[in-house]
Point group: none
Chain length 207, copies 4
DNA sequence: GATGAATGAGTATTCATTCAT
DNA sequence: TATGAATGAATACTCATTCAT
């Protein structure tokens, strides 16, 4: 399907991918301009459509490609022996920071998929997402040791609280991105603050 | 600034506001069409731009106007005698549901501000948000009784956890909106589930 | 439907119509460029689409409008008392020349409808054509005096021969348009030549 | 000029020709896509433009080549001993039907030349047509026995009438193509009807 | 001879905004 | 105050043609 694209010069490939995920992440599917993408990538109008039938195919390719890379990273970096949910979340957080530093727009793009997704692509994303994303994502928490939670607590709700708290924290950090440098965000101080949140939650939700 | 608009026939005013927030909420800032707005409001193109210099000014006016109305409702409906944070949050949740039932587009509009916010208006919203929204929002929690929290706990972080959890829960509920009716969402069962979350948090974070 | 357009300044209206029928007649529906039309008409891109929803609506409007004008002219100029087919054809020929001199592209446009009609508009034209064009066109020959034809001759075939001959002659004349001026074509010499054809046919097909 | 092409593998040559005349016949010069032609012919884009400088040259080559083949057939099949114009025309009509059944796209292509001919190629076709087509076509009628025509009749005009009538009849038949099968069109009934037209004309124009 | 990546001007249509009335 | 005609840059996408391999 996209073999033509994937067999081309790697450097140009990356220029196109970066330009495209940046544009889509910033403006959403509908408002993303293929004009801007080719300008930023330094290629001609025709070439983009030589590789991708249309804007939608480009978007769906990026979706699958980014998820693939994300999943590969997860499988590679997570220590699956460690069953404690807080340790697992800490690993995921470090992973995110790592990806953030290499492909900063990638996480924004993945996030934007859930935010915007115009009707034009929503159905396709949903059908592909159900197979790919969720199955792999569930794996992240499928083998967690649940015995450490307080007796009587609704474990599903407890996990939700942990999740929402970390999401909220990450979002708060991201808002500072424009003023802070990535280095500062990925610094010890940020990690320390996260640890403090995790500690409060562990004290609260574990036996 | 917008006094010209605010002094006009109230009924036409509302037609314009309703048409505009509906369009913006449904399509986001960039994709919202002023053509659609004037058609829905039953006014001419010229008139819209007579009252509002441009699309952006219209959007920013709506933002401020909606926040104003929201704040008025809050001030009116919150029982300020009650200082317990969990009780306060419960009141806010009920308030949201109440507004949702009366002006469904209004909350969609406010929500859409955070979801989409194209780069074209993001900066303006952020700067005004800091003044308007946060100052009023802070008032919601300025007189909270902090003595009930566990000794030694970082209270700011504890409040964040409560906040993010409720946000996460609300977001989860919203995702069901397309399949569930508003009545079902605002039902006892939803409120019960929220109570369970609040109970876990109170058990965890209070002395 | 097109009242907005028909109520505008007549001179600009005509500039648009002339530019459009010329472009459609020369290049056919698919290849006609709305860019060229607005350039030739001296209006902006937006204005054309302000009056006509899209290219197809413009084409269909022109079709109906041109047929209308053509039919009005026919009803006005034909002497319906005269039942002889050769006299009737002569009147029609004179009529065509007259129209040719006033709206030269109009007849080309009408002719082009039958020649090209891309699949994009064919169905719409056919359905509208059956009502409008054919019913009125049949009227042109509905009250002809058939008693003058040779006994035993197949009258339908005889009329076809007259028709095809005059069409062939007109086509031959048109091919000379690029080299000859309209004045020369509409001259006595051309009419004389046509008379000679009609005379051969009358001698041949009448008693 | 096109010797490079004509010296290549005959089978590939035919694949290209067939793909090209089909595309041109179906869509007309302007809308024919060289992309489609190379896809259908199974060759690369570059190769097409290696043999033919550009789309126009390809079209003009096809025009000349098809006329050549057509003329060869004519020279081969016409009985030149028979000098009667009506008999000659009957032979030509049969010839057309024969070709129609063997190379249906070829006649479609030749026909399409007259129908669509975008301004881009019209001039070139016209100038070449005068040399090629007409010279050969004139041969078809150069040795006709003119002595049978009525005394005093303008023979050139009489021949035109015969020609236009047969053209008109053929065109009328063609319009039925979409609903009728080729077999039905080339049936005895069609030929019979043509005979009736020829008979009327012979009775009218011969002594 | 043969490939197909690459180009950029071209297509129809939209839309915020202006301005004469 | 109110209208809506008019603008032109922007949109996604196509396509004949070139050229390095």
């Amino acid at each position: 399907m996209f073999s033509k694209f994937l067999n081309m010069d790697k450097e140009k490939q990356d220029r196109i991918i970066n330009a495209a995920i940046k544009e889509f992440a910033q403006k959403g599917y509908d408002n993303a301009s293929t004009n801007e993408i080719v300008k930023e990538a330094g290629i001609s109008k025709g070439l983009l459509f030589h590789y991708f039938q249309n804007k939608k195919q480009l978007y769906l390719f990026l979706y699958e490609h980014m998820i693939d890379i994300l999943m590969d990273k997860i499988m590679e970096k997570i220590n699956w022996e460690e069953k404690d949910i807080f340790v697992r979340y800490r690993q995921i957080a470090l992973l995110k920071i790592e990806i953030y530093q290499i492909y900063p727009e990638m996480l924004n793009f993945v996030k934007s998929i859930y935010k915007d997704s115009s009707p034009a692509v929503k159905i396709d994303i949903n059908s592909r997402g159900k197979e790919l994303f969720e199955s792999s994502f569930n794996k992240l928490f499928s083998d967690i040791d649940l015995s450490k939670f307080k007796k009587g607590i609704d474990i599903k709700k407890a996990i939700n609280i942990i999740n929402w708290t970390l999401e909220g924290f990450a979002y708060q950090m991201q808002e500072k991105v424009s003023s802070l440098s990535l280095e500062q965000i990925a610094s010890d101080k940020t990690m320390e603050e996260m640890e403090e949140y995790l500690e409060i939650l562990r004290d609260s939700l574990y036996e």
